[in-house]
Symmetry: C2
């Protein structure tokens, strides 16, 4: 069985970092699966052809089934000898066209896509209007009701800073320290699209989608900005809103 970047892998000659974009619509998430198709399965299989080596990659984090990425980052150790400036084009010629390598770099051995990450940006897109756009169905959450943007922005202000985000952690997820710092949380209208952006030092499992689900309740007037803060402070997942659908979420950027 494969393990992620186990120590024996570090005997290899190179540490390769890739910047990846993918449309998550056809995959059961990023992380390698035994019985279903994940982005990582495809990437490792194709990169093994390219590098002539077994590849066990680590990623900045997993993304769920249906979630997209503009800037996922992975790394892996290899003895493969392909010049680094040929990797992008060669990888893209092997990969299906819903997974794209945007950049490849050879990095120091102490770089880990997962452990070296210091912050991330996620965006979430809602499409709001009377008539849904068929071209956005896999890339946004469609909401017919008009949303009160000012109320959402008021609630978002409470998200910024260091908080215990237990209220927005997926129920049944592996227990982890629920304290995270959000540096910036915004929501703006771009035509029929309402785009949220969350910039933080880390995110709990389902945290963005659970926050957006609760913020939409604020936007439709089902709850208030102050009540949003109380829900967050209450640390009880059952008080928050429903999980927003996966297809509106994008891992935009990972910072190192």
């Amino acid at each position: 069985m494969k393990t992620e970047n186990k120590d024996s892998m570090k005997q290899r000659k190179r540490n390769i970092k890739l910047l990846i974009s993918y449309d998550g619509g056809n995959y059961h998430g990023f992380q390698r699966q035994n019985n279903s198709l994940a982005v990582q399965n495809i990437l490792e299989k194709k990169l093994e052809i390219l590098f002539g080596d077994t590849i066990e990659m680590a990623a900045s984090g997993r993304t769920d089934a249906g979630v997209h990425a503009y800037g996922q980052v992975v790394n892996f150790f290899t003895d493969g000898t392909i010049p680094i400036d040929r990797v992008v084009r060669a990888a893209n010629s092997l990969l299906p066209n819903d997974i794209v390598v945007k950049a490849a770099d050879e990095v120091d051995f102490d770089f880990s896509a997962r452990h070296s990450a210091i912050s991330k940006i996620y965006i979430y897109r809602i499409q709001q209007g009377e008539i849904p756009d068929p071209f956005l169905r896999n890339y946004t959450w469609y909401i017919r009701s008009k949303l009160n943007l000012a109320a959402i922005q008021e609630a978002l202000a409470y998200v910024v800073g260091e908080h215990d985000f237990s209220a927005f952690q997926a129920t049944g997820s592996v227990p982890m320290l629920p304290i995270r710092t959000i540096y910036e949380a915004t929501c703006e209208q771009k035509g029929s699209i309402i785009e949220f952006s969350f910039f933080g030092n880390g995110f709990l499992y389902h945290m963005v989608r659970n926050m957006v689900g609760t913020l939409v309740n604020v936007g439709i007037g089902k709850t208030t900005p102050i009540r949003f803060k109380e829900i967050m402070d209450g640390k009880d997942r059952k008080k928050a809103g429903a999980t927003a659908p996966a297809q509106g979420l994008y891992l935009k950027q990972v910072n190192y």
Copy 2:
């Protein structure tokens, strides 16, 4: 077997016109098929539920498998009594989310989506760049090579006016008078997207895709603008370029 708007249908009480948008990616074109899924099959089936009546619609024209529409127009005769202002929302609640009714109107009996159309606008989108965008794969033709836009625009000027477009007609298509008038033909860069627009009184089968395929040959320097004109004037399909892929083409608007 169903026929399009046969005379007996005109005994019915209402003539309904719909403006439709669809993502053609999952369908074998617009026109009703017996053995595969077409947009028309879905529309008629769902509208029959809504109107409580058999529905045989006529469209402004067919679109091929994989081709998209922002503004397809259809009409049908019905005795169904649903108020016209409820049709859009009710239809969209029944339709899959890749087919959307944007507007519904009750029109005079002499209106035919097909025969009353006086002009159409098609657009075609190319994505050009070193790194393909995975989110555009089903909505553009991806071309790595840089295209000479000035040369394409020079060739496009020859398209405007009344011409015999036999050179760009699909081989093996039903013979039809190959004279069409193009009022406007443009090509502009919008970021990584190169967008063609063709406004004309009618289009032969595969005409836009065959023109775009030949214009891309101009753009990559494989042929010249003058040679493009000669190909058009030569009326020989075999001299023109390959048919551009379906997923870049959109029926944007039909004028009546």
